[in-house]
Symmetry: C2
Subunit: 124 residues, 2 copies
DNA sequence: CCTCTATGTTGACGTTTTTCGATTCAAGGC
DNA sequence: GCCTTGAATCGAAAAACGTCAACATAGAGG
């Protein structure tokens, strides 16, 4: 259940992401990143992710998330799957319940990608 | 031509965004943010934005962007419009040509929103 | 084994998104 | 004024998406 994420952001071993503003994105990288942003581009998924990310223990049971929305259980399950496929979260079954947590690093890498260098054109 | 952006991110005068991981997102804020992330959730738009953001002078003419893609001119125009409506870019007509630039701050605010506090649960 | 609860999956439906061709609008040059 | 060029808008077609009801699966507890 936990082997479905994409290798979303990390590219080279050189630390990684090159920032939106450092050079025009090539096609492949744009496609990778778009997949993650698309996953974030839905209010339900944003709330789910925030719900998980803001949780003290770092984990949230599906049984807690489902009733927080005015949506059917399959729909929530579907959104969680998309977040997982985007490489943002992962999950594990423990007994009857399934717990989700945020995969560390990914959000920060995304943030780094969006952050524009204070001195524009630094890399050039 | 430049009065169409959304008031996307800035909320209070208190500096603003409260970070994905600080507390569960409320419905309204999730909707606002989702709109921006949705704009970023397309490879073409990501490349357009990167093209503009990485440009030395900060401005790019549409006439330079259109031929860089294997898409029709109306399609590029459409994507630029979505980026503009998301509050990420703005444009101005100068003579025959239209120039686009990245609205400052928005990307950094988004980045700040995504950045998770190093010490998890800091706000709690 | 059977049943019950918690989740994930499937198939269908309506809505939104992406894309294009055709048209329209804006500005310059004749 | 008319024509040309650059860009936005319109209308329509195809694809992708969000949602649900129905079903399937996993584990707990008889």
């Amino acid at each position: 259940m936990s082997k479905q994420e994409l290798e979303v952001i990390g590219q080279g071993a050189d630390g990684c992401c090159d920032g939106l503003a450092s050079a025009p994105l090539d096609d492949e990288r744009a496609a990778q990143l778009a997949k993650v942003f698309k996953a974030l581009g839905d209010p339900i998924r944003l709330r789910l992710l925030s719900m998980i990310a803001s949780r003290e223990g770092g984990e949230v049971c599906v049984c807690e998330m489902t009733p927080a929305f005015d949506l059917s259980q399959p729909t929530i399950s579907h959104h969680l799957k998309l977040l997982r496929q985007a490489g943002l979260i992962d999950c594990e079954r423990r007994g009857t319940w399934v717990y989700y947590w945020v995969l560390p690093g990914v959000l920060d890498q995304l943030a780094a990608f969006l952050t524009t260098p204070q001195t524009a054109g630094a890399t050039a």
